[in-house]
Amino acid sequence: MGLEVRREAETLIVELVGDWELSDAVPRFAPLLENDSEAPAAQAVDFDATGLGSWDSSLLTFLQQGMIHCEAHDLEFRSGNLPEDIARLLELARAVPEQETERASAELPFPAAMGTWGLAAWDGLMEAVTFLGEVADSFLRLVLFRLRMRWRDFWVVVQSNSSGALPIVTLIAFLVGMIISFLGAVVLRRFGAGYFVSYLVGYGMLREMASLMTGIIMAGRTGAAFAAELGSMKITEEIDAYRTLGISPVDHLVVPRVLGILVTMPLLTVYAGFIGILGGMVVAIMVLDLSVTQFTGGLLQAVTLSDALLGVFKGTVFGLIIGLAGCMKGLQTGGDASAVGKATTSAVVLGITLIIAANAVIDWLAVLLNI
C-alpha cells in the first residue's frame, strides 16, 4: 500500500502504488490536500493507478473519503484515470443519495426528556392498569364458571413450580436457615441466651425468609419463564392469532399461569420454612451444642401458628405478584428478539421489587394488627 502526491499545474495527482488491504490501515485523504502548500491551491484531484497492485475495500474507503472531501471543498474529483471497476463501484456508492431518515437521534433537552419520560411512565401505568383489569375480569369469569380453563397449561406450571423448583428451594432455604442460626449463635451466645436460637430461626424463617427467598427464586425462575414464553409468542404472532380469533390471550395464557403459581407458592413457602428450620437446627446442634429436643422445645414455645400463616399469606401474595409481573411484561414485549430479553429482565426486576415492597407493607400491617 502506498501513496505518492505530485502537482501538475492546479491538479493534485494522487499516485496509488502497491497492494491495498483492509488489514493495513486506511490512509486519510484530507491531509494530502492540507499538506499541499504549493501556490496556487489545487482545484482538482486526479489519480494515477499505473502502479496499483491488488486492492480491496480499503482503497474504496480512501477514495470515498476523497470524493466527500472534494465535494465539501468544491474541488473537481476526476475518476477517469482509475481502473474501470473501481470507478464503477464508486459510482454505485454515489447512485443513491443519502436518505433523509426521520429517526430522532438528537439528544432532547432536559425538560423535554423529563416530559417524555413522564409520558412513558404514564403510558406504562395505564397499560398495567388495563392488564390488571383484564386479568380481574378473566378471574371473575373463572369463578362464575364462564371461562373455559386451559388445565394443561395450569398443570405444566404447577409441575415446574413444585417438583421442578424443589432442589433450588431446598438448597437456598437450608442455607438461609443456617445463616440465621449462625447469626443467632454469635449474638445470642454473648448474652448466654444461645437457647433462644431456635426462636430466632423459627420466627425468622416462617415469618420472613421462607416466603421472601422463595419469592425471589421464583421471580427469577418462573417470572422470567412466563415473560420469555409470552414474549416469544408475541414475536411469532401467536398472541395476534389469539386476538384475531376473538380469543382473549389473558384467558388462555395468563389465567392458567397465574393460577398455577398462586397455588404452588404457598406450598413452597411451607416447605422452605420447614427446610430452613432444619438448616438452623443443624447449626444449633453443631455450634451451640443444643440437643434436638432443646431446639424443638424452644421453637414450639415461642413460635405460633399465626407466624406460619402470615408467611404462607405472604407467599401467596408474592406468587400473584410474580405471575402478574411475568405475564404482563411478556405480553408487552416489542417486536424483536432483543425485546424478549428486555421483557424477561424487567419481569424479574419488577417482580423482586414488588415482592420486597409488598413484604414491607405486610410486615407493617402485621405490626399494626399485632399479628
Binding site: 411469532t236 395476534d240 384475531t244 376473538g246
Partner: protein
C-alpha cells in the same frame, strides 16, 4: 384469471375509507380508499416498507387507524360492541407470515381451539372436523405433531387449516409464499384458488411475489412507499400493460431501471377511474 370476481352485490366485505396509518409520528400511508368485492382474490402489493403488512394489521383489527375507518361487512370493528366484534372475528381467518401456530399445542389442538371456542360441538365431532381440515391441506396423519416438529411449508398449511376451521367468509394471507420454495409456494397458491372457487371465500393477500400475484389475483392494489399512498388498483395484467406510474411499471415488470419517457400522463388518466371505487 380474468374477471374471476363476481359482481358486487350489496355491502362489500371490506371497505376502507380515507385510511391513514401511522407508526408514532411517522405517517406510513395516507388516504387509502378501496372496497374488496365479495368472492374475489384481492392482493395488496408494494415494495418492502410500503406499509403492506401494516395495512393488513389494520384490516384484521390489530391496529387502530390514525384517521379514517375500516368497515367489515358494513360494520366498524372499533366502534362495535364486544359481541359484534366477536361475531366479526369469527367470520374472518388470518394466515400469518410464519403460520403463528400455537407452539404449545399439537396441530389437532391448534385447529380445534377455534371450534371449541365458537361452537357447541362435542369432542368427537370436533375431532372429525379437525381431521377433515388437516386432510384438506394435505396433512392427514399429522394430528399429534407439534408445530416445531414439522417444516415451514407444512406449518403454513396447518395454519391454513386453523384459519379455515370456522369456514370464514374472508381470509387474510400475510406473504403466503415467503420462506417457501417455488413448488411449495405454488401449492399454497393452488389451495388459495381452490378455497375461493369451492367456498366462495373472499381472500385478501399481502404479497410481493409477482408469480403468485399474476396467478391468483383478481385485482391488486399497489402501495407506493414514496407517495405514501396507493397509486394503482386493477387486474395485474392491466397494471402491467398500462401502469399508471413508473414505480408500478417497475414493480410489475421486475425492473430496476428508470422508465422510458413515454407520456406517463395518458395511462394515468385512464386508470384513475379504476383506482377508486367511489364510496
Amino acid at each position: 384469471m380474468d374477471g374471476g370476481a363476481p359482481a358486487e352485490n350489496g355491502v362489500s366485505p371490506i371497505e376502507v375509507r380515507g385510511l391513514t396509518m401511522r407508526y408514532g409520528p411517522l405517517v406510513v400511508t395516507e388516504n387509502l380508499d378501496f372496497k374488496v368485492r365479495r368472492g374475489e382474490i384481492f392482493v395488496i402489493m408494494g415494495g418492502s416498507g410500503s406499509g403492506k403488512s401494516t395495512l393488513l394489521k389494520h384490516l384484521i383489527g390489530l391496529k387502530a387507524p390514525a384517521e379514517g375507518s375500516i368497515l367489515f361487512e358494513g360494520e366498524d370493528f372499533l366502534e362495535a360492541d364486544e359481541k359484534t366484534r366477536k361475531g366479526i372475528l369469527r367470520r374472518m381467518g388470518v394466515l400469518y407470515q410464519n403460520g403463528a401456530l400455537w407452539s404449545g399445542l399439537t396441530l389437532a389442538e391448534n385447529v380445534a381451539l377455534p371450534l371449541e371456542e365458537y361452537t357447541e360441538l362435542d369432542t368427537t365431532s370436533i375431532g372429525e372436523v379437525v381431521s377433515l381440515k388437516l386432510a384438506l391441506v394435505g396433512l392427514r396423519g399429522f394430528e399429534a405433531f407439534y408445530p416445531a416438529e414439522i417444516s415451514g411449508g407444512m406449518r403454513k398449511r396447518a395454519a391454513l387449516a386453523r384459519a379455515t376451521a370456522l369456514d370464514p367468509e374472508v381470509l387474510f394471507f400475510d406473504e403466503p409464499s415467503s420462506g417457501l420454495d417455488p413448488i411449495t409456494a405454488s401449492r399454497l397458491d393452488d389451495l388459495i384458488l381452490q378455497l375461493r372457487d369451492s367456498f366462495g371465500t373472499t381472500i385478501v393477500v399481502v404479497s410481493h411475489d409477482l408469480d403468485s400475484i399474476f396467478r391468483i389475483a383478481d385485482r391488486a392494489l399497489f402501495l407506493d412507499i414514496k407517495e405514501k399512498t396507493m397509486t394503482a388498483m386493477g387486474t395485474p395484467e392491466a397494471l402491467r400493460e398500462s401502469p399508471p406510474t413508473d414505480e408500478v411499471r417497475r414493480f410489475m415488470t421486475r425492473s430496476s431501471e428508470a422508465g422510458p419517457s413515454e407520456e406517463p400522463d395518458a395511462p394515468r388518466e385512464e386508470k384513475a377511474q379504476e383506482r377508486r371505487d367511489d364510496p
